[in-house]
Amino acid sequence: MSGHDSKYFSTTKKGEIPELKEELNSQYKDKRKDAVKKVIAAMTVGKDVSSLFTDVVNCMQTENLELKKLVYLYLINYAKSQPDLAILAVNTFVKDSQDPNPLIRALAVRTMGCIRVDKITEYLCDPLQRCLKDDDPYVRKTAAICVAKLYDINAELVEDRGFLDALKDLISDNNPMVVANAVAALAEIQENSSRPIFEITSHTLSKLLTALNECTEWGQVFILDALSKYKAADAREAENIVERVTPRLQHANCAVVLSAVKMILLQMELITSTDVVRNLCKKMAPPLVTLLSAEPEIQYVALRNINLIVQKRPTILAHEIKVLLEFKEYATEVDVDFVRKAVRAIGRCAIKLERAAERCISVLLELIKIKVNYVVQEAIIVIKDIFRRYPNTYESIIATLCENLDTLDEPEAKASMIWIIGEYAERIDNADELLESFLETFPEEPPQVQLQLLTATVKLFLKKPTEGPQQMIQVVLNNATVETDNPDLRDRAYIYWRLLSTDPEAAKDVVLAEKPVISDDSNQLDPSLLDELLANIATLSSVYHKPPDAFVTRVKTVQKTEEEEYPDGEGGYSEQPGASSPATTSTVQSSAGRPPAAAPAPVPDLLDLMGMDGNNSAIVSTEQPASPAGPPLPVLLPAPTGQGLQISAQLIRRDGQIFYSMLFENNSQIPLDGFMIQFNKNTFGLAAGGPLQVPQLQPGTSASTLLPMVLFQNVSPGPPSTLLQVAVKNSQQPVWYFNDKIPLLAFFSEDGRMERTTFLETWKSLPDSNEVSKDFPAVVLNSVEATLDRLAASNMFFIAKRKHSNQDVLYLSAKIPRGIPFLIELTAAIGVAGLKCAIKTPSPEMAPLFFEAIEALLKS
């Protein structure tokens, strides 16, 4: 080849397009090739060379692969805007797909799949069918990906023509590259389908594990990611899988290493043998550290992932702790803030890692011996925490700490030291003297220190009830109750005083009660979020530390035409998305990522909910029902079944919160008390947000209560279901089990209202497969207003309305927890029986629940 490509960017005086046209039709092959290169050069810098379409396509019929590839490149770009002309190329495509040269066959299917023109798609099917069974693996692997392309354009076609089965057959192909692409294509199709298409059985598992060893590095990632969805049957199988995957940890490609780590972590959940788990952790640690020697970009990803992994398995990198000496060195620097941080960091190592604790303590002691004032103070603060983390382990160092008493001048350090003295008063011979030295300045101390002094003195007195401490306690209590304005201090002092004067033994139980062991939960993620993120190790989710649905928005690409973009609106409403019109956009950017899944709302104090203060019982007698007058609650446990106890209950929503409204009626002959409630795993993970507050029920009386509920506690896997299994027990009777139905309406949140534009965009961004509709022949709407009011009362918000012949079409939006929206379209003729309800949502599996709920609402 002569010269170089950049000359193709130069322009000529004559007018580029006519000149190119001429060259494209030249009789010389080289000239035509050069001309196509020029056309592509123009195309890549954004010039419109679509008018040359026919001329370029004419160059396609050549045996020269280089030229053919160039034409194909051009076609992919312009076929969209010239669909009619693209048909011209079809014959050549079909012919090429049968070419003796496998490269040309593959090129033809690959390119046809990229041209998203309906007419071409029809012609694609036959060549694709052939290529899926081609003798050449290069053609088969290209065809496998082409099925995914076709599915994206026309899912039905793929299913009708049996391409899914052909794809599944390729999993058993003898070429690992073909297997990898088939797995990738099936995984993508499954992702976009609500039906089970690609389920990994133990049979496919073993095939894939075998292919794993022979695959290219990228194929290994596809396979490992697909396998991570497989749930091993038992610990034994999990161990077998892990054994096959572990060699991948030695791979030079960090994507393979991280995908293998993900797979191993998932299987480890099932492995019960602690030896095996420990061994695996040992094997995973060095490769994880090695990732940190890669390019800085990879290091970033690795560190974000390691951050998650050590939260779940803190010991995994315990061997790799090499920072202690660094911290020690930093602790002797001049920058005071820096030093404090270094000392705190040592403390955190000690609290997080049991194995490192002893070394941390000895480093801290060395630092204390330097006697630099602020180092000592900071060290004492962290040692207090270490004592609380490992009780009865390191108390021998207290003597060393006490030597530094007089250097303490910061409140936090002083308070920490005083806490230590009080807590271990019985082991410190001169504890009373030490405390006394602090007491002299009691009135001048900051509140933090005063509070600790008060408590420590009480502890001392309870542990050594001798004369000295007794005098001290008098002084302190007097000081704290009479001479101070600080209500916290005063109240605490009064409580101690009363306790000590009425029942010293009770005081001992209270003040010297065993303290819970603390843990370091700084930077700690919510456990449920952590589990979700760990399941997504080696994906973006683990880098952002957000669940995937918080940032993944799907956009379906469908060929669009101008007419379709704005469906004709009638009656002045031009914004409704016609339910029947296809998803119409390829470039409209979907709304920004949905907000991260909301954590379950904190449960307010039960007493506050009831609007009562602590003196009243949360339970109100039957004369004053807690729930407002309304339809009676459905009876779930009839009296005959419950040996006289009748329970009625229903999930309701009030003030943005879900409650279980319950009524207990005691028709038995004995008083019932000690009521407790438990919910079985359910679709929404509903669980009691507090204890069940029911007083003793005398025979013939009843009590009602509102039990606050929390979500996502114990989510049952499997398809959504409305079943809620409840167990209630009391001290007198056996446990009662009954079933309730979860009304989806209770989950519709108050913030479900959508802007019209958002609604429109969301509708467009969701694929058609997410649309579900149902007819309710028995439902009659008598008035639009009344219907909308009723829907609004259940947090389904009106967006727009249009008329379609004699029918009204209503658009509404609603939202359930975790920010999942429902876009609703209701079609009905007023006063005539029959309602059509269509919904579109990212969670179409919820549709049956939704229809059940709306039918119940509109029928009543």
Binding site: M1, H4, T44, C114, W218, S293, N536
Partner: protein
């Protein structure tokens, strides 16, 4: 799967742009560049290599000043995307010889051809230069390498060592040499980046070696290669006690904490005789990466002395000793040391008779910089610097100055003592005996001495 791939110049110009799935808007390159350029208003923080903007995930790496970017909508594996971007850069470099804005523009047709074979519908097909050769028909137009910054670890060898054939790093794997024949040769580079921290008393506090055995083959016919490493090479620190830990004496086993291998490497006989066998694919690739925390002898010892001369003056004496054999020469040595904030002026006293030596006080950073072009093994060099303070200095100067850090490159030396004992090419062509180059180089990653 990947939605788009593009390469941007430093100024944000679109050099290459390929859309694979059509689910991300066309303007993404511009959106990306604007976001990265103005990541934080104060310009202090750089954009992370992975971020999400309006539902689109952007992945990027920087290679020789160019931004290689991929976009995706799904919850993709970020390490997959980032590794891919590095590999694409390497493949393009293998083909073009030189990776630069100019070479990309001149070879855009070839680059697009490559991109279509590397990725199909967002799925990575292959990044092996060897495999790609069967499917690529365009030939590269080689640009002049003279002023191009080379990439890859082997670029280290470009630094002023005449024994190395400089063409090795800028030679295309497919283009023919002038004269039509390709030279049969293979390069094996052992590259070690070392991190050492010395305490103020000169003891080694931490030390680590990040090593890689890099290979670049220009052999025709893809013969099998056998690479023999040290007999006493062990993997995993757990076995240390069994082998009589040797410390820094310079003998005894070489113990790798961890290592990984390129997929072409067969380990069949590794356990028996520490031999790796492989059929090297074309192009540059790492045969093996390894990490060592076993003690080793640091190539330089650093000795710092600070003498106070009254309250307004002090003298710093820096002594560097090259602890490697005199047959070896280190080059591009730079010693840096932060000085107290009140330092206003520094007078240097350089040793005489050393060429290419320079010392400077960077006032804006309050930092001393001492550069030496070459240091021969076994030699010792001293710098005396007289500091003048703007105000009376009380307290400890060592607390406000230091630590001393060094960067350097030492060709034909590696502190781990990992060695290629022999490099055997299984099937030699009858006519020519291929050139075999085995090269070693050590570079300072973080080399710090506290004072």
């Amino acid at each position: 799967m990947i939605s788009q791939f593009f390469v941007l110049s430093q100024r944000g110009d679109n050099i290459v742009f390929r859309d694979y799935r059509g689910d991300v808007q066309k303007g993404s390159a511009e959106i990306f560049f604007r976001k990265v350029k103005f990541w934080k208003e104060d310009g202090k923080e750089e954009a992370p290599p992975v971020f999400n903007l309006d539902g689109v995930n952007y992945f990027h790496v920087k290679v020789v000043g160019l931004l290689f970017v991929a976009t995706a909508r799904i919850n993709l594996s970020p390490s997959l995307a980032l590794e891919l971007l590095q590999r694409i850069a390497r493949v393009i470099k293998d083909y073009l010889g030189v990776l630069s804005e100019e070479s990309l523009r001149k070879n855009f047709v070839l680059v697009y051809e490559l991109l279509d074979e590397v990725i199909d519908f967002g799925y990575i097909q292959t990044t092996s230069t060897e495999v790609l050769k069967s499917y690529i028909f365009n030939e590269p137009i080689v640009v002049d390498a003279a002023c191009m910054p080379p990439i890859g670890p082997a670029a280290l060898f470009m630094q002023g060592n005449k024994r190395m054939p400089g063409t090795a790093v800028t030679k295309s794997v497919v283009a023919n040499e002038p004269g039509g024949r390709k030279r049969e040769e293979i390069f094996v580079d052992i590259i070690e980046k070392i991190s050492v921290t010395f305490s103020s008393s000169g003891y080694v506090l931490t030390s680590e070696i990040d090593g890689t055995i890099q290979m670049k083959s220009y052999l025709t016919g893809n013969p099998e290669i056998r690479l023999a490493l040290n007999d006493d090479l062990y993997i995993g620190r757990s076995g240390i006690s069994n082998f009589g830990y040797s410390g820094s004496s310079g003998t005894g086993p070489v113990i790798l904490d961890d290592c990984n291998f390129h997929e072409s490497v067969h380990m069949d006989s590794f356990d028996v005789d520490r031999t790796l066998s492989l059929v090297p694919p074309d192009g540059e690739f790492p045969v093996m990466n390894y990490r060592i925390t076993q003690e080793f002898k640091p190539p330089f010892s650093i000795n710092t002395l600070i003498e106070e001369a009254g309250t307004l003056k002090a003298e710093v004496i820096l002594k560097i000793r090259a602890e490697f054999p005199s047959s070896i020469t280190a080059n591009t040595i730079l010693v840096e040391m932060p000085l107290p904030a009140c330092t206003t002026r520094v007078n240097f006293d350089l040793e005489r008779g050393i060429v290419g030596q320079n010392a400077d006080f960077k006032e804006s950073h309050k930092k001393l910089e001492w550069s030496v072009k070459k240091i021969v093994g076994g030699s010792e060099h001293t710098l005396r610097a007289k500091l003048n303070f703007s105000q009376e200095f009380h307290g400890n100067i060592t607390k406000e100055a230091g630590p001393v850090s060094m960067t350097f490159t030492i060709p034909m030396y590696n502190p781990s003592r990992l060695q290629v004992k022999y490099l055997q090419i299984a099937k030699k062509t009858k006519t020519s005996n291929p050139y075999r180059w085995v090269r070693y180089v050590t570079q300072a990653n973080s080399y710090v001495a506290r004072i």
